[in-house]
């Protein structure tokens, strides 16, 4: 049995001096690297339970239809089919391609039998006009697909800010004015692991076990309680390993509810993971946008006025777009006017995705800053620094400019031109994020045999979170990371946060630190009689404890633990002063453009990013690199494609929905901003995804004078911008 630590607490925990750290602020290989590399790690997809059924859902192929019949009879007679259920009745409408288009669920003994049964369901439906583009949604007489109550059009209420007349007057007085319309397509999360669950039912007095690919192991029991007809405490959710979420996996979703229902009805374990095609159709996306942006500057390059009219394109959801001016400052805040509205289509609603709305806003704003710089003949770094308030941004921009070779670049204040059809350019972008810190708990247990467990109900989406759960404790107790077992991904553990908005580190790390600190003081309380020094006067290092200033009074770790008669349990909680959530980043990209073929090759990307104390420099650089890759892929390739005639989602596969592969990846430099000496921690995953595509677009413009106002930067876009549409 364990007992909570008792006795007076001598001091508050702290992250300590960076120069004293032995584990943190270094490169720590992730603790689950070997099991992931060998395939030993069990993801939700990999869970196999005795007697398990394989479930699949049937998604209607077009967004809008009226159901005439769903005949499951032949399918239900097929070999291995155990459960089959139509989810719509004759006369029901399919209102959009998303959850509402899920027509049936099938469960069978094998995955192939489930797929075959799905194919044998006979659906008769009258297909209705698709509303898959904003043009179709805005056309006069368009079917109303908005889900707002009493909606009479597909346009949401416009959010208007500022005084248009004041903005117009300021723009009229500006020395340089840029006006452009930017078009940003819908992006998919493309998690390596699709959405889904494995549900193992149980008698009423026992816990149901749910394996979930989720960003919220702690919130999922509540999300499934009603479907499973039991209290959340009788549901245990496990996420031992997870293949990505990026904001798309906060709740069990329809697929989780259906898995739970089929498990309830059949009394058997059910495996329901979406296929890749289903994933593209119903599992969310990053909203698109159309932004008509007008920005003016004075002769010194200061932004003096701004107007934005924008449509957020979030399907049946609202979409997201932060208000202007994005990150940059307009000298007179009253000279900023914006009108932002949602335009709804009959397509899957947008969900949170890594910095929701921010990359979209960045694309337009960075372009405007570039173009004002060129109009005024200003260096692109100088005009940015002039309009950014934070000195952190200033130093970060100078740092990335140095790393990318800006000083030797010929086109610093005007676009270049191609020579023999080839041109090289450089572009920039900045980011901000405010990663919160919230209530979180952690238990650290030290056993008499010297083993240590750090346990908290967080989840590792692939970020490396599991590693710091062990490393923070190792640092505090003078151990190596492998001496601490990290337990996460289990809703029965002490509660922590949903991983969204980069809050995981800022919330869970302080609680882990607090628990580790309490464990340390609990052990020091035992040592007062042995080494004869009060709590707070010990140094824990290299697997030993010694009295500060007297290395002769010392014990090895194992001997300290042997003083315990029973396991020592230290319960930590979120401590606000260990966290600070205000971060900055700057990026630069260098590209080569072949103006004869439209090929854009990204040669190099650089990021400089602050976040307070780097817990694990290796994981941090990995996150920064991941952000650059995701932004590069967004900029160069990604685009959701619908057939506009009948409404088929053509890009429901990784053949047509193109994401960057190894050949797209440039030289990447992830610089950790070590001038940030804040004694706090926070997450930072959103920031590095915000400006990468903007920097690439800027680099294309800088190379050859072609300002691409829509994404992605594929050959058709480059060639049509250069030479016009044929």
């Amino acid at each position: 049995m364990s007992r909570p630590t008792s006795g007076p607490v001598a001091s508050d925990p702290s992250w300590g001096n960076r120069s004293d750290l032995d584990v943190l602020n270094r490169d720590i290989p992730r603790v689950d690297g070997p099991v992931k590399a060998t395939g030993e790690a069990v993801y939700t997809h990999d869970v196999r339970l005795p007697d398990m059924l394989w479930a699949r859902v049937l998604v209607h192929p077009v967004p809008r239809a009226e159901i005439e019949s769903i005949d499951v009879e032949a399918a239900s007679e097929m070999p291995g089919v155990v459960h089959i259920e139509a989810l719509k009745e004759p006369g029901d409408a399919v209102r959009y391609l998303g959850d509402d288009a899920v027509l049936a669920v099938v469960a069978a003994e094998t995955p192939d039998q489930a797929a075959d049964a799905l194919g044998a369901i006979v659906v008769k439906a009258r297909r209705l006009a698709p509303v898959v583009t904003p043009e179709q949604a805005l056309k006069e007489g368009a079917p109303v697909v908005s889900r707002r109550r009493k909606a009479d059009s597909n346009v949401g209420r416009a959010n208007e800010r500022g005084d248009e007349a004041v903005a117009d007057a300021a723009l009229a007085g500006a020395v340089a004015v840029v006006e452009r319309t930017f078009v940003v397509p819908i992006q998919h999360h493309v998690c390596l692991e699709t959405h889904g669950h494995v549900v193992q039912p149980a008698p009423d007095n026992e816990q149901v076990t749910v394996y979930a690919s989720t960003q919220s192991v702690g919130g999922t029991p509540r999300g499934l309680a009603r479907t499973l007809g039991r209290d959340a405490s009788k549901i245990r959710v496990l996420t031992p390993h997870m293949g990505g979420g990026f904001g798309s996996k906060f709740g069990p979703g329809l697929e989780g509810a259906l898995a739970a229902r089929v498990a309830n009805v059949t009394g058997r374990p059910v495996h329901l993971m979406l296929t890749r095609a289903d994933e593209f159709a119903i599992a969310g996306n990053r909203s698109g946008s159309r932004q008509k942006l007008k920005v003016g500057a004075d002769s010194d390059g200061r932004l003096v006025g701004l107007k934005l009219e924008a449509d957020k394109l979030g399907g049946v959801s609202g979409g997201s777009l932060p208000g202007p001016p994005y990150i940059y400052t307009v000298t007179d805040g009253a000279a900023v006017f914006s009108k932002i509205r949602s335009v709804h289509t009959a397509t899957d609603g947008s969900r949170a995705m890594r910095a929701p709305g921010h990359p979209q806003a960045s694309f337009a704003m960075e372009a405007a800053v570039d173009e004002l710089g060129y109009l005024l003949g200003m260096d692109l770094v100088d005009i940015r620094i002039r309009n950014l308030e934070s000195a952190v941004h200033h130093r970060q921009l100078r740092r990335v400019a140095e790393e990318i070779g800006w000083a030797d670049h010929p086109n610093r204040d005007r676009p270049g031109a191609a020579v023999n059809g080839r041109a090289v350019g450089i572009g920039f972008g900045v980011s901000v994020w405010g990663p919160g810190g919230r209530s979180s708990r952690c238990d650290v247990t030290v056993r008499p045999d010297g083993s240590v467990v750090s346990a908290t109900a967080t989840q590792d989406l692939g970020t490396g979170a599991r590693t710091y759960v062990a490393a923070i404790v190792a640092e505090e107790l003078g151990l190596t990371v492998d001496m601490v077992e990290a337990r996460i991904g289990d809703s029965d553990l002490p509660p922590s946060v949903t991983s969204g908005g980069s809050v995981t580190t800022g919330s869970s790390a302080p609680a882990i630190k607090d628990a580790a600190h309490k464990a340390r003081e609990g052990l020091e309380a035992l040592l007062t009689d042995v080494l004869e020094a009060p709590v707070g006067s010990y140094v824990w290092k290299d697997g030993r404890v010694s009295v500060r200033g007297d290395a002769s009074r010392s014990l090895p770790w194992i001997a300290v633990c042997a003083l315990l008669r029973e396991p020592l349990l230290a319960q930590g909680e979120f401590r606000d002063f260990l966290h600070e959530g205000r971060i900055h980043g700057a990026q630069a990209a260098k590209v080569e453009v072949d103006t004869l073929t439209g090929r854009v090759k990204v040669l190099k990307m650089v990021t400089c990013q602050d976040q307070g104390l780097p817990l694990n420099r290796l994981a941090l650089r990995s996150q920064i690199n991941g952000g650059m890759v995701q932004a590069l892929s967004y900029g160069l390739l990604e685009q959701r494609v619908f057939d506009e005639q009948d409404g088929f989602l053509l890009s429901d596969n990784l053949d047509l929905y193109k994401i960057a592969g190894s050949q797209e990846i440039p030289e990447m430099v992830a610089l950790i901003d070590d001038e940030d000496e804040r004694p706090s921690v926070c997450g930072m995953a959103e920031a590095p995804v915000i400006p990468g595509h903007s920097a690439i677009a800027g680099a294309i413009h800088n190379a050859c004078g072609a300002r691409l106002t829509r994404m992605p930067f594929t050959a058709d876009n480059v060639l049509e911008t250069l030479y016009g549409k044929i």
Binding site: P61, V62, A115, G119, G421, D594, L596, T597, G598, R599, K601, L637, V641, F642, D643, E644, Q645, D646, F648, L650, S651, N653, D655, L656, K658, I659, A660, G661, S662, Q663, E664, T714, A715, D716, L719, E720, L722, Y723, K725, I726
Partner: protein, 327 residues
């Protein structure tokens, strides 16, 4: 995917005997590397009751004749074409084309015969719920819908662009296919192997359902021939061609082009030879002026749809770049 029988015949006659005389969606089809036919079956486009494997027919040889020509067996893998030192010396463009295909995994499994006989990549054709001319339907949704990847030459009533890189380069190299059927063997030049949608909608080649392409023979190139295959992939890591150019030139001692051949890929329902582009080169000095003229000649007859006009710009650029690489 429907269940199917896997046939493993030990000789060519037995293999041909397993194939149907007339096409049906359920009729047996040939299996080589399986990189295309299996995906066609998974997407529910064809439902063959049997696949007839060429695995045991010994069609995986690379055999040189005494004069510098070579015969490539139908089941030689794409990777083997990319790795063969002799092919690289004699036909560098073939090697470039092979290396540009798919991913390492796909190249290691995919075959020459399978590549030449692969089906269209049009997203409408590949979509399990879409009906189209190529699947027995009565419409080509690409004509007025999403046609960014569609043909700018030779389209109508269907507008897919042929995806085979090897077809494009082998046509440029003047290769001939050997085809065996119940009536014996026939030789078909690559230039006559493919048919346009206006000639046939259910197939892309002159092969009959009970015929097997067994090998391809490339004649020895004329002395001093330079050749190149330049493929533009939207996603460099692995992709089909947005457009591709296979080009060969022969230069005299003063750098004047005396012979040329230009074939385009990814822009028509079959590999698209542009004799006008070759004519624009012959007699000209090898240089930017000739390359620009050849590019312009290559697209003179293009007839793009709403979203694929950029391919006109792209082909011009690729012709220029391919010729530039041979200078």
């Amino acid at each position: 995917m429907k269940d199917f029988d896997l046939k493993l015949p030990e000789n060519l006659d037995a293999a041909i005997g397993e194939l149907p005389a007339e096409y049906t969606r359920e009729g047996a089809q040939v299996l080589a590397g399986g990189q295309d036919i299996v995906t066609v079956m998974k997407d529910d486009i064809e439902q063959p009751a049997a696949l007839v494997s060429l695995q045991r027919l010994g069609l995986d040889g690379i055999e040189w004749d005494g004069d510098g020509g070579v015969t490539l067996g139908a089941t030689v893998t794409v990777q083997a074409l990319a790795d063969d030192a002799g092919l690289e010396r004699a036909f560098p463009a073939l090697r470039e084309a092979a290396q540009s295909i798919g991913s390492p995994q796909i190249r290691s499994q995919a075959t020459l015969g399978g590549n030449l006989n692969q089906r269209p990549r049009c997203p409408y054709y590949r979509h399990p719920s879409v009906s189209c001319f190529k699947k027995g339907g009565s419409v080509c949704l690409a004509e007025f819908g999403f046609n960014k990847y569609a043909a700018i030459f030779g389209g109508g009533p269907s507008y897919f662009s042929h995806p085979s890189d090897l077809a494009t380069v082998l046509l440029m190299l003047g290769a001939t296919a050997s085809i065996s059927g119940p009536g014996g063997e026939r030789k078909v030049p690559l230039a006559e192997l493919y048919v346009l949608p206006e000639e046939s909608l259910e197939t892309e080649t002159v092969l009959r359902p009970d015929e097997i392409l067994t090998s391809v023979t490339i004649p020895a190139p004329p002395a001093e021939t330079r050749s190149s295959y330049l493929k533009f992939k939207e996603r460099a890591s692995y992709d089909f061609a947005l457009a591709a150019v296979a080009v060969s030139v022969v230069l005299d001692g003063s750098g004047v082009v005396t012979d040329a051949r230009v074939v385009l890929g990814g822009v028509a329902p079959k590999p698209w030879e542009v004799p006008a582009a070759a004519r624009a080169l012959i007699g000209k000095s090898m240089g930017p002026e000739a390359w620009t003229a050849a590019g312009a000649a290559a697209v003179a007859d293009a007839d793009p749809l709403e979203h694929n006009g950029y391919k006109v710009h792209l082909v011009k650029g690729l012709v220029f770049r391919a010729l530039e690489s041979l200078a």
